[in-house]
Symmetry: C2
Subunit: 182 residues, 2 copies
């Protein structure tokens, strides 16, 4: 499990052994229940207990903008900002030939179908800027450009960061991505 090394694992195991039997059974049942209940939204592939997730069902969300992310974690991170009012599309990973992940292992075909059917005004690619992330961004960009406006999130100095501590590539991107002051 991520973030759980041998020591933490032993601590967790010993903790569970000390709890009353009913409590352990409740935890086991909850795990099975969660696994059974939580699937993927059939529209955006975000984690959801319903066939269509809450965000996709909400009438208050702007359906003319789709934000494409690699993972459900990224939906949660973006939702925390309370800045984005559109819909999402979760790819289920990024294109990574070295790990055997091509476009067909991701939900890219479904995204293409969704975009050509719903004709959103804008698709925002919010994919982390790793080599695989860049490849995925460029691939999807090429694919969707005939259908809609495709944008990507900004790269540059993190807010609260200091110029002096930024790495050179980030600084170069921050310079390159400069914008006119309003």
């Amino acid at each position: 499990m991520p973030g759980v090394g041998p020591k933490s694992a032993q601590r967790l195991a010993l903790h569970i052994l000390k709890r009353p039997e009913a409590e352990v059974e409740a935890l086991a049942a909850a795990l099975i229940e969660a696994k059974k209940q939580v699937g993927l939204c059939s529209v955006c592939f975000h984690l959801s207990a319903e066939p269509i997730c809450e965000i996709c069902r909400s009438p208050n969300r702007d359906h003319t903008t789709i934000c494409v992310v690699a993972d459900s974690r990224d939906v949660i991170a973006l939702e925390k900002t309370r800045e984005f009012k559109g819909k999402y599309h979760v790819l289920g990973g990024v294109i990574s030939p070295i790990d055997g992940v091509g476009p067909e292992q991701l939900t890219i075909t479904a995204l293409q179908r969704r975009v050509s059917q719903q004709q959103p005004q804008e698709v925002i690619l919010a994919i982390s800027p790793s080599i695989e992330g860049e490849t995925t961004t460029l691939y999807i960009g090429q694919l969707l450009k005939p259908f809609t406006k495709v944008t990507r999130i900004a790269f540059g100095l993190p807010v609260g960061g200091d110029l002096e501590y930024a790495d050179e590539v980030t600084l170069a991107r921050a310079l390159e991505g400069r914008r006119e002051l309003d």
Copy 2:
């Protein structure tokens, strides 16, 4: 001295006491010499051993773009990217009323004079996005907009960073600053 706590200070002091006298004298002389020699460039206020610094004197640098930074450290950081070919202007700090630093304590008047005389095509504000940095950026932006195009560096996800680990303000800025994919 920055980055030198009591333990490091003691280690440095004991190290110096162990060196031969001639070496210690050479170090002392070098310190005095450096302090004597290194002043500020009279054009851009970057550290310089000459009255006008190497960057300002260079005929290979684009004089139509001036990049405004808070500190000489930032010039060094930007030079490392090898992306920027223009000239600089070092403010000598940021506007911070709480520390008693107003526009008149910085080289802002000199910048305004420089811009109105040289009429550069663009002034890039590359100031760290702290509260004081933002104030300084907005202040200089207002001041220079009648004379030239004023841009600021991009804020967003650092390159190699992960969406999940970005703080909410940075993510919001990355979304807000999104750009169309070329």
